[in-house]
Each structure stands twice: as structure tokens, then as C-alpha cells.
Subunit: 367 residues, 2 copies
């Protein structure tokens, strides 16, 4: 059994946690990123793309390449793919990068979405507001994240300012979806097309940033889990996706509605490090390395994840709690920055909520 | 919360697993070792002691120093200790390195041992055989491990050859202990003198090498666990030990008898990565960094560890078993070499034995 070498485009906390999960399987990691002292720098070599011959060096060092972000340069990924396998492949990446193509893909596969219209002129924007009604969300089709590149139109009076701020780019107009909560489903697909799916997570946001995930999502019927599994399996097969994929969903009166996908491990899956038999990070590494996938079942009946945002908070309060596990990313404090997370495992919902309540200072921290 | 930097003397699998446990707590690692491509090289910087100024560089980079082996140069440890804290301290190290001092320490603390005699002349050896009876085990007081530096004397006819092979060194003669099984107890002590103890492990050896540990040790009374806890807590306090300590024990008709101690994380504690709320590696890092200790309780009712010795074996058979977790050390195959281990968690003894039996090829592998 030779050591496998995985190349990662990026060197943030997702790469760090992939490496921590992969090293025990005799997988080593090389990161391709210009950042210094990034979260991954202590779990592998980091190659700065700006040094001469960097890309050739990187490609020669690795057996397979993956990436941390759906904003990764698709041209770079395709170029690397001519020399060494890149998983997930370019189809997963390009479709995740383009909101319109993404939604068209969902629709073509029978995955429910909000109503939407392509908008490339001001006339098309006005027509979209008439067809979809207010409020609508106007988004750039590419590069938007964390609320950037989007505007909410509540009435015709908002059309002018929205068009002025976003009209330079290709846009998508989406009808508002009335939902009771946000859920996500995460799955891994291996090189033989075999798929494993994690239980649905319920995701609690504050100021546009994920704060808490609970798994399995409370009061979730087996029908809902089955619907999520059908959605993501269909999507994985269509994309011929290899590795982990995440699908964000709205829970609505008429069933699950897909919001967006990410071709990668996801913040709402961080609970799986202690919470699942095999974490999302380990399953991603297994999939891209050609190893068999591991069980996605919860180790305990309940699990939760609390993000540490902006400020480190009281580390000892986490270390002193037997049901809690600390995962820091080696980053310095900065407003709205994800610095780490706390994983909680429990044998009942009441026990889990009791532990979560001890960390209210983290949940409410708006650093 | 600043990142802490731990220096490790050595760069083997114990350092690797310390780093994998410590990095999520924002602890980084620097290793001091001349080996290349050793197990720790992918989880921190490795400084070669043979490069100019190596020791000064190492000391400047770290906040605290620890070591992987009881065979670490005690003079080096004391020298480093003048500049940066070293845990465990020199008392723990020196007493672990000298079989006679170790046994004297056990006795002085009321910890049962085999009968033993100091042997520095052939006459003392003959006297020891008369007082202790045959068989006896003759060992060098220092540097012996894995059966080296020792001889078993079954009758007076063995005295000559034993004296010839070992008589150049200071020796200890030990009476044979009749025991039903070998156990070990592992504990961690923090910088305030607080101690946490893991459940007793039952250790199954083959050809002098640990093959399987089961935790908690089967059919173990609460009295026996309490006796082990009393032994190790007394020892930790006496040594003012900071970090993890392991005490190897014989289970005899008259109670537990101490064999030897190791001032470090131990092969018989590797089960704790998935098996315990907090692994021995994480608790060692917590202790030496001044963090509070974590719970040592089993996450599931039963846990086991199977060593992978000499040959890698069928990795996929481990990855395909939901209750099993693979931990490789990045080493190439070599006879009798510890290459990795398999951790098993289960909710009953029967379930655990059923999983262990699937890995008989690993248990019986004598690579």
C-alpha cells in the first residue's frame, strides 16, 4: 500500500480537515495557494502559484487533485486535468459556478427549485417582476457568495437601484420561497458510481452566516430524507461527480426545494468528524483516492455543530464539556471570520439542546 | 487564543498521532529527529539535530517540549529544560529508564512488583537465583526493550551463558510472576495535579509484540480498576508527572503486579482515538499545553485495537467495515515493524469479538 498524494487547490480549513482525515489512511497532502500561514500549512507542503514552475511542481508531486471552493478557476482545473485526475470533475465545478445553469440542471432532473428567470436587459428584469411577483431576489449568475452580488426587490420602486448595482452582469431573478427552515444534504460518490448519503442537517443562520447545524434535522420524516437522497443521488449520477457534494434545500409546505449546490465538503457537514462513523472529509478523500466509501450513519443518535465566528471565545468552556469537541482552524480573530467549530454528540435531543445551550455565547457571537 | 507550538523529540507514529489530535486545538508541532520521511513529517516541521544550530532553532520555535520514547537522552531533556518547559519532567524520564530505580519507586509507593534483586557481580547473580528460585529473568537496568538485553534462567546451568552475555552491564534479576493476563492502565495528569484515568486495557501479545488490546479489559472488577487507578495516581503524584503515563500490569491471583511504566502515550491506548471521549494523544497535548483534561470514558461500551505488523494487509477490508477505523503511520513494510492499527468500537462484547474475528489475518500476521 503506497502512500497516495492528494493535491488541493486552496489551503483553508476545508483542506486542513481533509488532511487530518486522510493522513491516517496513508494519504499525504500538497496545497496550491499563495496565502501564508493558512489553516493547511501545518498538514502538508504549500506551493505558492507565484513561484516559477509552481504548477508543474505541484502536478508532479500528486496522484490526484481536488479543490476547496466552487470559486476555483475552472480553466486551471481543466488544465491540470490533462496531466492528473481532478475530482470532482469540471462539469460539477462549472455547473456550481453558474446560478442559471445550476437551476436549469436541477429542473431538468426533476429537482424542485424556486421559479426563476434569466435577466440580461432591464426589460427582462421588469418582465420577470411581472411574472414572478414581488419580492424577488436578483443575483449575478457567477461569483456571488455571502450575500454579495445580489439584491432583494420588494416593489417596482426597487428596480432602478437594483439594475444600477447589478445590471453590468448576467443575472438571474428568483421568486421568493416561503420556507420553514433551511436544510442540507451531503453525499459522497466513489469512482464506481456508488453513493452514500448523510442524514439531513437543519441549518440555523444569523446575519447570513451558518451558526448551528443539527443532525438529523429535528422532526424530519423518512419521506423527507428519502426525497433529499433521491435529489442528490440523481444529481451526483448526472454530473458523474466523484467526491463529496452538498445540496442546500428549503423545507416548504410542498416539499423540499433546492437552493444551491456546492461540489465539496461543507460547513453543515462538520458535525460528522465525531458525529458520523465516517466524516465527510474522510469520505471525500476515500472517493477521490479510489478507496471504498465509509458508513455515513450517526455514531450517537444526535449531533450538532456550532460555528466559532469572529472571536475565539472561551476555549476552556469547550474543553471542559465531555460531549463537546473543539476544532480550530489556526486563524486569527477577524469580524465574521470562521475560526473554528464545536462538535457535540448526544444520545437524545434534550441532552444535545442542553449542551448547545451552554455555548450560547458562541451561537450569539456576531464578532 | 494564540497558537501553541509543541516540540517533540522524535518523529514517529506517536508524534504523528499527537499532532493529529493537537492541531484541531490550534496546537502546532515541530519535531527534532534525524530520520527522513518519518511518520510525523507530514504534520509539522522536522528539524535534523545534525544541522548547525539545530537545537537553538528548535528551542526558539516552541512553547513546550515533550518526547516519544523513554529512551530519550535524559541529558538532552535536562538541557532543553533550562530554556523551555519539558513535560513529562526529568524525574519521570530517568525513573522509567532504569529498571532498578523504577522497581524501587513502585515498592516505595506500595505498588506491588515481582521480587527482584540488584545484580552487579556473578556472586550476586548466584545469590539472587537462590533467594528468588528458578526461573528468573535477568535484565540490564537500562536500554532494554522488545526482549533485547534480557535472558531467562531456568536452572543453575543457565547462569554461565547469561552472565557472559549480560554481565558487562548493571543488572536486575526478577522472579517469575504467574499471571493470567497482561493489563495496562493509562492516565494523564495536568499542570494543577488533576488526573484522569482510562479504563484498564487487556493486552494480547504474540512473539513479544502487542497484537490486540481490548477496553475495558473483559471480566474486570471495579476493585481491580480502582486498584489500577490508585497505583497510577500515586505514581503520577510522586513523580509530579505532567502528561500521559502508562503502567503495565500483570493480573495475578493476589491482585495487580506492576511490570514497568512508560512516561508517554502507549500502543495499548491507541483504541482511545475513536473509543474514548478524549484520546490519550489529545489528553497528553492538553496536559503539556496547560489546557484542562478531557473525559476518558468510552464512547461506546466496548473498544479494541489491532496492530498492523510487518505487512500492510488488505486495507479495503478495514475501510469496508463500519465499526473499524484505519490508522496508518506512513511507513514501509518491514518484518516486525508497527505500520498502523485498526480501532474497533462496539456496543457489546459479542459485537466487538465478531468484528475482531474478521481481522484474524492482521492478528495472526507475523510479518
Amino acid at each position: 500500500m503506497a502512500v497516495k498524494r492528494v493535491g488541493v487547490l486552496g489551503s483553508g480549513q476545508l483542506g486542513r480537515m481533509m488532511a487530518l482525515a486522510g493522513i491516517p489512511l496513508d494519504v499525504e497532502f500538497v496545497f496550491f495557494d499563495e496565502g501564508e500561514n493558512t489553516p493547511s500549512h501545518c498538514v502538508g507542503k504549500v506551493i505558492n502559484p507565484k513561484t516559477p514552475g509552481a504548477l508543474q511542481t505541484f502536478i508532479k508531486m500528486v496522484d490526484v487533485v481536488t479543490y476547496e471552493s466552487e470559486n476555483t478557476d475552472a480553466g486551471l482545473v481543466e488544465g491540470i486535468g490533462k496531466h492528473v485526475p481532478v475530482f470532482p470533475g469540471p462539469d460539477s465545478l462549472r455547473k456550481s459556478q453558474h446560478r442559471l445553469t445550476e437551476k436549469d440542471t436541477f429542473r431538468s432532473l426533476g429537482i424542485a427549485t424556486a421559479e426563476y428567470r434569466r435577466v440580461s436587459t432591464r426589460e427582462e428584469l421588469e418582465k420577470a417582476t411581472q411574472e414572478l411577483g414581488f419580492p424577488i431576489v436578483l443575483k449575478t449568475t457567477t461569483m456571488g457568495y455571502d450575500g454579495k452580488g445580489q439584491a432583494v426587490l420588494r416593489s417596482a420602486a426597487d428596480i432602478d437601484s437594483a439594475w444600477q448595482s447589478l445590471g453590468h452582469a448576467e443575472l438571474i431573478a428568483e421568486a421568493f420561497v416561503t420556507f420553514s427552515r433551511e436544510l442540507s444534504v451531503i453525499a459522497a460518490r466513489d469512482q464506481h458510481g456508488h453513493t452514500v448519503v448523510y442524514p439531513l442537517a437543519e441549518n440555523q443562520h444569523h446575519a447570513g452566516i451558518l451558526r448551528v447545524s443539527r443532525v438529523p434535522a429535528p422532526d424530519c420524516s423518512t419521506e423527507k430524507q428519502a426525497q433529499a437522497e433521491q435529489f442528490i443521488t440523481t444529481l451526483l449520477d448526472h454530473l458523474n461527480h466523484i467526491g463529496v457534494l452538498t445540496l442546500e434545500l428549503f423545507d416548504t409546505a410542498s416539499g423540499l426545494v433546492a437552493n444551491e449546490m456546492a461540489p465539496r465538503v461543507h460547513n453543515s457537514g462538520h458535525w460528522s468528524i465525531e458525529g458520523a462513523e465516517t466524516s465527510q472529509f474522510e469520505n471525500h478523500v476515500r472517493a477521490i483516492c479510489g478507496f471504498p466509501l465509509g458508513s455515513t450513519q450517526n455514531r450517537h443518535s444526535h449531533a450538532a455543530m456550532i460555528n466559532i465566528i469572529g472571536k475565539n471565545g472561551d476555549r476552556n468552556s469547550v474543553l471542559n464539556e465531555p460531549a463537546a469537541h473543539l476544532h480550530m482552524y489556526g486563524k486569527s480573530e477577524r469580524s465574521n471570520r470562521k475560526l473554528g467549530h464545536i462538535n457535540i454528540v448526544a444520545d437524545s435531543a434534550a441532552e444535545m439542546e442542553s449542551v448547545i445551550s451552554k455555548f450560547n455565547a458562541f451561537v450569539n457571537e456576531c464578532g
